[in-house]
Amino acid sequence: MRGIRVWSILMMVSLVLAPLAAAAGQASPPSDKAGVQAAAPPGAQQVKPAARQEAKPAAKPPAKKGEEKRTEEIVPAYSDIKQRSAVIVFYVWLWLSIAVLAYFLRLWIKEADRVYKAKYYEPEESPRKGNPMAAGVGE
């Protein structure tokens, strides 16, 4: 029934989105310690690259020697501009590759479907089945 299908899809989508929302909410854990650098704020703020620069300051823990305990939170950040550029390039390359590969895979899928519909590779129904001269038909 269409109603159940819509309902099921809505549930699946909310099931997938709920943990993302919960985890994004968890991304800013309770910060009651003074001097904590900005913990990664949840949600849309981080999409803009300009905001990202300040949302994730290069967070190395202060140079502590010996057994002094770290009191600050470590926020994930790039260690230099080269790393940041490399990561951005990698992601652009990744999504570009996904688009290109998906395009080619769709071509292959269309062909495979067409071939299957035309029953091209079914030696069981092949009219040449049993013919000793028809070596390798559909193999």
């Binding site: 990698f90 390359w93 990744l94 590759s97 290109v100 590969l101 080619f104 895979l105 071509l107 292959w108």
Partner: protein
């Protein structure tokens, strides 16, 4: 120019692009992974020591100081200056020790001997001990890689 029949078909061309691009994606994943698991430890370029710990050394005495994770050897020469080596045998990386009676460095792993200047004199070690530069600056004793220059 249109070629009616060709061995390299359009199909093969597109397949090669697909396969090639996919291979490139795989390779682009490999480099960060390899860089990550490649050991990050490097020897330090310089080590700062407290001069007071070593100021009272008489000529001919050898003390050990940490050079990263390896032992460094600091010796007071006859003229009062300091000499330093990386205290690791050039044969197979065992830690060497100072034998005061013979005034030589000894590696117990394969019975290698170095003289008081770190030159290999007996046993399998192929090269002398690695020298390090020593500089006294005020209260501190700096040990540096040779050629690293006077970096404050």
């Amino acid at each position: 120019m249109r070629i009616n029949n060709a061995y390299f078909t359009r199909r093969k061309f597109l397949n090669s692009i697909l396969g090639g691009w996919f291979g490139a994606v795989i390779v682009s994943f490999i480099s960060p992974i390899v860089k990550f698991v490649w050991p990050p430890y490097k020897e330090p370029d310089e080590v700062k020591l407290v001069l007071a710990d070593f100021a009272a050394m008489p000529p001919g005495e050898v003390k050990i100081f940490p050079w990263g994770v390896k032992p460094g050897l600091l010796k007071r020469a006859a003229d009062g200056t300091f000499i330093a080596w990386v205290g690791v045998c050039t044969h197979l990386d065992c830690n060497v020790s100072w034998v005061p009676d013979k005034k030589q460095f000894y590696c117990a792993c394969h019975i290698g001997w170095y003289d008081e200047n770190g030159t290999n004199i007996a046993g399998p070690p192929p090269k002398p001990l690695r020298r390090l530069d020593v500089a006294v600056e005020g209260e501190d004793l700096f040990v540096r890689k040779p050629g690293a220059g006077a970096k404050a």
